[in-house]
C-alpha cells in the first residue's frame, strides 16, 4: 500500500490510486489531488453533481451505479461524462468520489 501527500494531507491508496479506505478518508484535498492527475482542468458544478450522485448511490446501495443509471440521474450523456472525466466514469469519477475500485472482467 502506498501513500499520497497533497496539500498537507496524507491518503492511503492502492497501485491504481484508489482510496483504500474509500469515502471514510475522502476530503476536498482528495478531490483536488485526483483533479491534478486525471486530466481535469477546472472543477465545475457538473463534476460536483456526478461526485454527489455517485456517493449518494454508493451509500444507499453499496455499489457504484451502472453507467446508464449515472447518465439518467445526472442527465449527462456518456460523451459529456468523458468530457468532464477523461478517464471515464470508473477510473475518473469513481476514483475522485472515493468509491472502491471497479472490479470484474475489465
Amino acid at each position: 500500500m502506498a501513500t499520497v501527500e497533497h496539500k498537507g494531507k496524507t491518503f492511503n491508496v492502492d497501485e491504481d490510486g484508489f482510496l483504500t479506505k474509500g469515502m471514510e478518508e475522502w476530503s476536498e484535498e482528495w478531490v483536488d489531488y485526483v483533479k491534478s492527475i486525471e486530466g481535469i482542468e477546472e472543477l465545475t458544478d457538473e463534476h460536483r453533481k456526478i461526485i454527489d450522485i455517485l456517493q449518494d448511490y454508493f451509500k444507499k446501495n453499496g455499489i457504484a451505479p451502472m453507467v446508464r443509471i449515472l447518465s439518467k440521474t445526472t442527465g449527462f450523456p456518456l460523451k459529456r461524462i468523458y468530457e468532464l472525466f477523461p478517464s471515464g466514469p470508473g477510473k475518473g469519477a469513481c476514483k475522485m468520489a472515493g468509491l472502491p475500485k471497479p472490479t470484474g472482467c475489465v
Partner: protein, 425 residues
C-alpha cells in the same frame, strides 16, 4: 535484471512444440524484465498459485477500456513485473499483416514494454503483454500518431469484433466477413472505447456454417454466412470425385475406404437425407437442405454455395458464468449482408437489440441471460421479429403458456359475483 534459477520452467524447453520458455529467454536478452516473467512463473509453478494481484484499473484518457491493469504480488522479488499491464490492439480483419508494420510495432513495444506479445487474444486483439503505467500514454500516442493503430475493447462494452478469413481466401464465404467486421468496428468505435453497456458484448462474423471464427459459441451476436437458393453442382467434377481424380475433403482427410464412396461419405451422412444419385448424376432436393456444409466440405470442386447469399444472425452465446453456457440462438434466419448499403439490415438488428438490452439488461447480465430471463417470445417482440418455427428446435413441452390480455376475449378483469350467479358456493 538477473536471471533466475528456473528448473520447472526449463523442462518446458524440451519436446518438439515451439517453447514459450525458450522464446521468453531469447527476448530476455533484449528486454531483461522478461527474466522476471520466467522467474515469477517458476514461483507460481512451485506454489501452484498465481502471483498477480486482484484486478487493476489503468487506461488512457478518453477511453474507458483497452488496457488490462496487472500488478505482481511479489514485486520485491521480481521488480521487472511489478507493473505488468496488458494492452489490447484492434487487429486487422482476419489478421493479415505486412512485415513493415509488424516491425514498427515490435520496435515500439520493445521501447515501451516487455517485447512479449500474444498473437492473438481469443477475442482477436493483438495483445502486448507487460508494461508500466507511465508508459501507457506515450505508447498510445505513438501507436495512434506513428502507426495509425488503435486500442481494442475491454470492460462492459463492445469488444473487438473478429471474422474468419472470408472472401480473402475461401470459396465458401457467403458474404464479405472482413468488410462487415471492419465496417462494424469503425461504426461502433464509441461503443468499443467507452463502456456504456450492462456487460460485455461481442460480434463475430463467419462466412459459412463451418464457422471458422467460432461465432456461434463466442459472440453475443454471430453473423454466419449462408444462402437460400440451390447448391451449385458441377456434375463433371462430381464424376472426377467418383473416379478418384479429385481427392475427397481437398485431400485433408483420407477417404474412409480404399476408394471414395459417395454413398457412404456424402449421401448417407447428409443430415436431412436430401441427396441421391441418378446414374452418375448427383441430385439435391434443396428445399430440404439445411446448408450444413458437409457435402461442400467433402467435394469442394464439385459443390458450391448458392448465389443468393447472406447471413443468419444468432444471439446470446456466452461462457458458463453466471447461469450456464449458451450457444447462439437463431434470431434472424436470413439477411442480406451488403457493403454497398453499409450493412443496413445488420445495423438495424444490432441497434434494436442494444436499445432493449441497454435499458433492460441487469448489471453484468449478458444478452443471452437477458433473453433467458425475459423469454424468447418477449425478445422477438421487442426486436419486431415474427416468431417462426425456425426459432425453436422443438416446441415447449410444458403448458405454462402466457397470453397477453389483448389476445384473450374479455380480458383479465372479471367479477367474482358474476361467476357466482352461475356457480353457487
Amino acid at each position: 535484471m538477473p536471471k533466475h534459477d528456473t528448473p520447472l520452467m526449463d523442462e518446458l524447453e524440451k519436446g518438439p512444440w515451439p517453447s514459450f520458455v525458450s522464446d521468453l529467454k531469447r527476448q530476455a536478452e533484449k528486454s531483461p524484465q522478461c527474466w522476471d516473467i520466467v522467474g515469477q512463473m517458476e514461483l507460481s509453478y512451485k506454489d501452484r498459485m498465481t502471483h498477480w494481484k486482484h484486478g487493476g484499473i489503468v487506461g488512457v484518457f478518453g477511453y474507458g477500456g483497452g488496457i488490462v491493469g496487472r500488478y505482481s504480488d511479489v514485486p520485491d522479488k521480481f521488480p521487472g513485473v511489478a507493473h505488468f499491464h496488458t494492452v489490447r490492439l484492434n487487429q486487422p480483419s482476419s489478421k493479415f499483416y505486412r512485415t513493415d508494420l509488424l516491425r514498427k510495432l515490435c520496435d515500439l513495444w520493445e521501447k515501451r514494454g516487455s517485447g512479449m506479445t500474444n498473437l492473438h487474444g481469443s477475442t482477436g486483439d493483438l495483445i502486448l503483454l507487460g508494461t508500466k503505467t507511465e508508459e501507457l500514454e506515450p505508447l498510445f500516442y505513438e501507436l495512434t500518431h506513428d502507426l495509425e493503430w488503435d486500442l481494442g475493447g475491454s470492460g462492459s462494452n463492445l469488444r473487438t469484433p473478429a471474422c474468419c478469413i472470408g472472401k480473402a481466401r475461401c470459396e465458401w464465404a457467403c458474404y464479405d466477413t472482413q468488410a462487415a467486421c471492419y465496417a462494424m468496428t469503425m461504426k461502433y468505435q464509441d461503443e468499443i472505447h467507452r463502456p456504456a453497456f450492462p456487460y460485455k458484448f461481442k460480434f463475430k462474423f463467419s462466412g459459412c456454417a463451418n464457422d471458422c471464427v467460432a461465432a456461434l459459441a463466442r459472440s453475443d451476436l454471430s453473423a454466419i454466412g449462408t444462402w437460400r437458393d440451390n447448391i451449385r453442382i458441377d456434375q463433371a467434377e462430381v464424376k472426377n470425385y467418383l473416379s478418384g481424380a479429385n481427392k475427397a475433403n481437398g485431400g485433408g482427410t483420407p477417404a474412409k475406404g480404399d476408394k471414395f464412396d459417395i454413398q457412404k461419405e456424402v449421401i448417407d451422412l447428409c443430415p436431412t437425407g436430401c441427396m441421391w444419385m441418378e446414374g452418375d448424376t448427383l441430385k439435391i432436393d434443396d428445399a430440404e437442405c439445411t446448408r450444413c456444409m458437409h457435402c461442400l466440405n467433402v467435394m469442394p470442386k464439385a459443390l458450391r454455395p448458392g448465389l443468393d447469399q447472406g447471413a443468419s444472425l444468432l444471439m446470446g452465446a456466452k461462457a458458463p458464468i453466471l447461469d450456464g453456457a449458451q450457444l447462439g440462438t437463431l434470431i434472424v434466419p436470413f439477411i442480406k449482408m451488403d457493403p454497398e448499403n453499409e450493412f443496413e439490415e445488420l445495423v438495424d438488428v444490432i441497434e434494436k437489440c442494444w436499445d432493449y438490452w441497454m435499458e433492460n439488461g441487469k448489471n453484468r447480465e449478458r444478452l443471452g441471460e437477458t433473453i433467458q430471463r425475459v423469454g424468447l417470445p418477449t425478445f422477438l417482440r421487442v426486436m419486431e421479429i415474427e416468431p417462426i418455427p425456425q426459432h425453436v428446435r422443438e416446441p415447449r413441452s410444458n403448458p405454462y403458456v402466457f397470453w397477453r390480455e389483448e389476445e384473450v376475449e374479455g380480458g383479465w378483469q372479471r367479477d367474482i359475483k358474476e361467476f357466482r350467479k352461475k356457480h353457487a358456493q
